[in-house]
Subunit: 305 residues, 2 copies
């Protein structure tokens, strides 16, 4: 039994007429005769009673007809369904990002993509770069915005740096903190530290140890929101992405580095995903548009790579 034979069968059953059905299905009458006969052989029974004045369905034909129609519909549905996926009308992208990116860059990017491809589900996971990297490798995420370079080895992942983000020292707006600091100026200054897992925690500790001292920890273990609240409350300062400051009037930012030949304190944001061919088209498209979107997002605190 073959699909096209079912199509022919339905056509003949509806037209009750081989010649007309042949025209409607765009084939020739002899072929139709042969194909129907072949179908009848495959099923082991007559489907039509041929008469010179039209044809009639046998009871076997009547039994087959509704099934044949359903099969044809289902085939069309299957094709459309596949086409929807490939044409980005449906699908799912699981996006991971660090907390600060989730609050800063990601929403606008997601909004833009969703506007273009409303049929594609977007699932966001917030986490540290390490966790997200593992999620990517093991297939729980499709793409992530992380801090580069990756700490854990991940040979199957492709990492594309897109932005360099300025880090600043956040302090209470009324605090007596200079607008410009060198890294070394952090020594002895009470700092609010992120909890284990935040990239900013590691970046801060590394910057201090690179300059030969350990940070003075005022309080430890917070999420992004909590840390900023602690700073506002005057418990200390914190090293945070520059872009979180503008929306917090109770905070002031001091640049870190960028003077006297000392490089500014920055971190690199990269788009990371599994290597090529296994990527669903929806993900490929998302990665492309995310890259474009972020590359076109410039500001003094977000330098394109």
């Amino acid at each position: 039994m073959q699909f096209h034979q079912l199509g022919y069968f339905v056509a003949v059953a509806r037209a009750r007429h081989f010649t007309r059905a042949a025209e409607e299905t765009g084939t020739t009458q002899p072929n139709l005769s042969k194909q129907i006969r072949s179908l009848e052989n495959a099923l082991g029974t007559q489907l039509f009673v041929r008469g010179p004045s039209g044809v009639e369905l046998t009871s076997a034909g009547e039994a087959l007809l509704p099934h044949a129609e359903r099969i044809l519909i289902e085939v069309a549905t299957a094709e459309r369904s596949v086409h929807e996926v490939t044409s980005l009308r449906r699908g799912r992208v699981r996006v991971g990002a660090t907390p600060s990116i989730c609050e800063g860059l990601l929403p606008a990017a997601l909004t833009a993509f969703h506007g273009q491809h409303p049929g594609i589900e977007l699932e966001v996971s917030e986490g540290s770069s390490g966790v997200l990297t593992r999620d990517l490798s093991e297939g729980r995420l499709d793409v992530a915005l992380l801090i580069a370079p990756l700490r854990v080895a991940a040979p199957d992942l492709v990492s594309t740096p897109v932005l360099r983000e300025r880090l600043v020292l956040a302090s209470p707006a009324d605090a007596d903190v200079p607008d410009q600091l060198r890294i070394a100026d952090l020594q002895g200054r009470p700092l609010v530290m992120f909890r284990e897992g935040y990239d900013l925690r590691d970046v801060t500790r590394r910057a201090c140890s690179d300059h030969g001292f350990s940070p003075t920890v005022a309080i430890e273990g917070g999420e992004m929101g909590g840390v900023l609240r602690f700073v506002e409350a005057g418990l200390g300062s914190a090293v945070v992405p520059a872009m979180v400051i503008p929306s917090r009037p109770a905070l002031k930012a001091s640049t870190l580095g960028g003077t006297q030949g000392e490089p500014p304190l920055e971190r690199t944001i990269a788009i990371v995903h599994r290597s090529q061919e296994t990527l669903p088209l929806a993900v490929q498209s998302f990665v492309e548009e995310l890259t474009d979107h972020l590359r076109s997002t410039g500001s003094p605190d977000l330098r394109q790579v």
Copy 2:
């Protein structure tokens, strides 16, 4: 897109392995590769990500898989459905019969057939030969047990006489009626007549007119049950099939004809159906078994033809 390709696709999707799927589906691995590729071309998208350690579904493949499985199931269902019809496991036979046959011969025949083919629905219509003949011609019935010869012309019907049924004069058991009568003896005898449409009405009138007189009508217009009740009540006698008498102890039967060279009054029961090839197999089978059944039903009052 082709049917067998969907089968291959599902096999590969389940095995995640071309070579194994080839074994399971009973083909060779190169063919499987080619067919899947052909399917992918037909759909315009990759379905699998081929890797040396097995294969993975693409998102398009994942979209296709449930549809493909449903289609395969539906095709199997269609085949089984057709096969059920041809193998008499399902179907419907619409049977017509005259009232006396419905009460006499038919029940045992239906019971026998139903025992052999319990999946086949049996629909019984009771009516006069004329009405049933029209119902047959116009497709509302599949087969009927009628009184032959047919009164109305019906070129598309096949009529097979199977039994000759003795007609007798039914009278009250205590009435003074001889056991044997000639047709001519009916003259002047009050008769209970069936309503218009009953074959027995026509048979009775014809028998009388053939002998040059009109019947004396005592009361008119009854169904089989009513007519017999009227006779029991002493309103008159009635010409009825011999086989209705035994179950009515209040009635006695007088033979009609069959003496002195006068032929016995009989009527011929025939199986009638539309001519051959358009007959559903269930009907063909029913006709065959009905014929066998009736042919083997002999009695003094029911002579085989």
